[in-house]
Symmetry: C2
């Protein structure tokens, strides 16, 4: 039920345009995946998310395990039915959340003991329990349970996490034996150490069937460090499957990563900055909340085909933001998600037409896609 | 451009089914009007409000004058364009908000001096300035600038407010000379004193062209006191125009008021209680946030045709509420608004079919519309 085909590849950069088939639908790559951490893209109905052109949504196994509990989701008929979303879903394993949200945690070879960030209750996640958890949730794509490390951690610790992630991957594979309805994506770690990224890739690639992820980036390191790691990985990543860079959702990171062979992205950025009043445009972010837009009776971005730009002005959206009306954040969220889809659609078209190097160069020179 | 026709009248109670024509569309009465105080029904797009079956939306001149300022709305092309709502709009004059929101205010015969509840800035509203304000906003129906009094205020003060409201009404009429595109609804005051309600009605009716409102109720008095005032007014209210009871939005008040000749209602209740997790049903309110619904995989209300009930379970909505996702409140808001429309549609059908007395009696006996 899973299949990935390269439609076009940029001869200069190796950027790819592909088609990724999953049980709940076909995804044109490169693709940005909006995030519904708690089984809801904040402030939007599933129909509104679809209207943005979203092809797949991400949710989070850690959060759903903490609340409402995977038993509730399973009894509802799985995550698709629970949240009323009939397109593909990817669940993150929670490896990153255990590392980023739990103040008290203890990592051993067996697994991770931690306290819930909600009520402090004690939990123990292992590769085996995490596979059961994600099987209960029922997403199309599930992620390996990995050990994510902070930016700037020392080499020895980063290496240990690579080895542990690799050992846990074997246990994930042993626990999740059927990739026909749920595809397990292994995750490459290695922090910002080129040889560890290489090592992790070599340990991970043999276990990847139709999808592989790069984790532990966009966690505080510099853009150059991140691009450097992607440069190391590009020749190693198998060509016959999608490459997913976890936690990236800004226009510059996206085009740079695509130029290094990445196909899939997710991030809370477009919806989070929207709630604070920031909108993404082909010419950079604008802060709609700011005074200059008080009497601006034009849409967020000229020419944008999103619901917000078709019906509302910056003056109105700014009013909603200032007045504390959630619809202000929802309208910008719609725009920002649509923007990232327009961006990847534009990049995909350029790859297919063979003009991607020019698009990339222009962006590098002007920081604009106009 | 304004016209009101009685389609059917209950011979026993005097309850009316009507058709009210306005510049932006025809309204079947009795009607509930959802409230977008700050030019947004909290958490819903205009399309979502329309999908609930809403025929007219209410907004508030006081709030819009304070933020973003009527000049912004006027420059945007008026409230319909500003908020992207092409059906009828009614704006409240702000008389009630000046009384309920401003801690510091001074009422004289000339008008009301008060401080903004947002930034403490000084303002002075007069009947003349309020008409200009509402003309700038551009709603189909505008409300007279009145003096609202608290529940339980002494007779003498209540009488003075009736007289002042009447004097102000004459000034509103002199300032707003053209009812052809914006219909001015005068407001009857009189607190809970039957003879003052009668006096106010007599002073008000001559100035009503196609719509009259009852204000100063549902502000803390008992249900019996409110019904008593409506009983006093019913024989006095002119039959050839809609009767609007301000600030009422609960099922019991609505059916009781309709049985006393009321045609129009507005209230923030359905959306406010929704955000706290309460849903209205034909059999009374249920608190979806409560534990019993944790594993309830059925819609809020069986048989309801709203978007929330067609796609989501109580277990999912409860999860959203517990997780702090605004979509939980939005889904219940959709249901509650649709519920009030289903209720008035059911009552309207009963009036037309001649079965309203039975519906009313059953509700009085069982507190249920099932």
């Amino acid at each position: 039920m899973f299949k990935y085909e390269v439609v076009a590849e940029c001869k200069v950069t190796g950027a790819r345009a592909g088609v990724f088939t999953t049980p709940h639908g076909v995804i044109n790559t490169p693709v940005f995946m909006p995030v519904g951490t708690q089984a809801s893209v904040k402030g939007l109905t599933p129909e509104q998310v679809k209207d943005c052109g979203s092809q797949i949504m991400l949710s989070n196994a850690y959060h759903l395990a903490m609340r409402p509990g995977e038993n509730i989701v399973k009894a509802a008929g799985g995550l698709h039915k629970f949240m009323n979303w009939d397109k593909p879903i990817l669940t993150d394993s929670g490896g990153f959340q255990v590392y980023s949200l739990s103040k008290i945690r203890k990592v051993t070879d067996e697994g991770v003991k931690f306290q819930s960030h909600i009520d402090g209750s004690a939990h123990f996640f292992t590769p085996e329990s995490d596979m059961r958890l994600q099987e209960d949730l029922g997403a199309d794509i599930i992620m390996a349970f990995d050990e994510c490390t902070s930016a700037g951690i020392e080499y020895k610790k980063a290496r240990a996490a690579v080895i542990r992630t690799s050992e846990w991957l074997k246990r994930c594979k042993a626990a999740h034996t059927d990739n026909s309805t749920q595809m397990l994506f292994p995750i490459i770690q290695g922090n910002v150490y080129p040889d560890l990224r290489k090592l992790s890739a070599e340990l991970t690639v043999p276990h990847a069937e139709c999808g592989i992820a790069v984790g532990g980036l966009s966690v505080g390191e510099s853009a150059e460090e991140m691009y450097g790691m992607l440069d190391v990985l590009q020749p190693i990543l198998p060509k016959n499957m999608p490459h997913y860079l976890m936690g990236v959702g800004s226009a510059d990171y996206i085009i740079e990563a695509i130029s290094r062979g990445i196909d899939m992205f997710d991030c809370v950025l477009p919806t989070r900055i929207a709630r604070n009043g920031s909108a993404m445009t082909m010419n950079g972010d604008i802060i709609v909340r700011d005074a200059p837009y008080k009497e601006d009776y034009t849409p967020i971005e000229a020419g944008c085909d999103c619901y917000a730009c078709k019906g509302y002005t910056k003056a109105y959206i700014r009013h909603l933001l200032k007045a504390g009306e959630v619809m202000g954040g929802s309208l910008i969220s719609i725009h920002n998600i649509r923007f990232l889809h327009r961006l990847t659609e534009k990049i995909r078209a350029a790859i297919i037409e063979g003009t991607f190097p020019e698009l990339l160069e222009k962006f590098r020179k002007t920081a604009s896609f106009l």
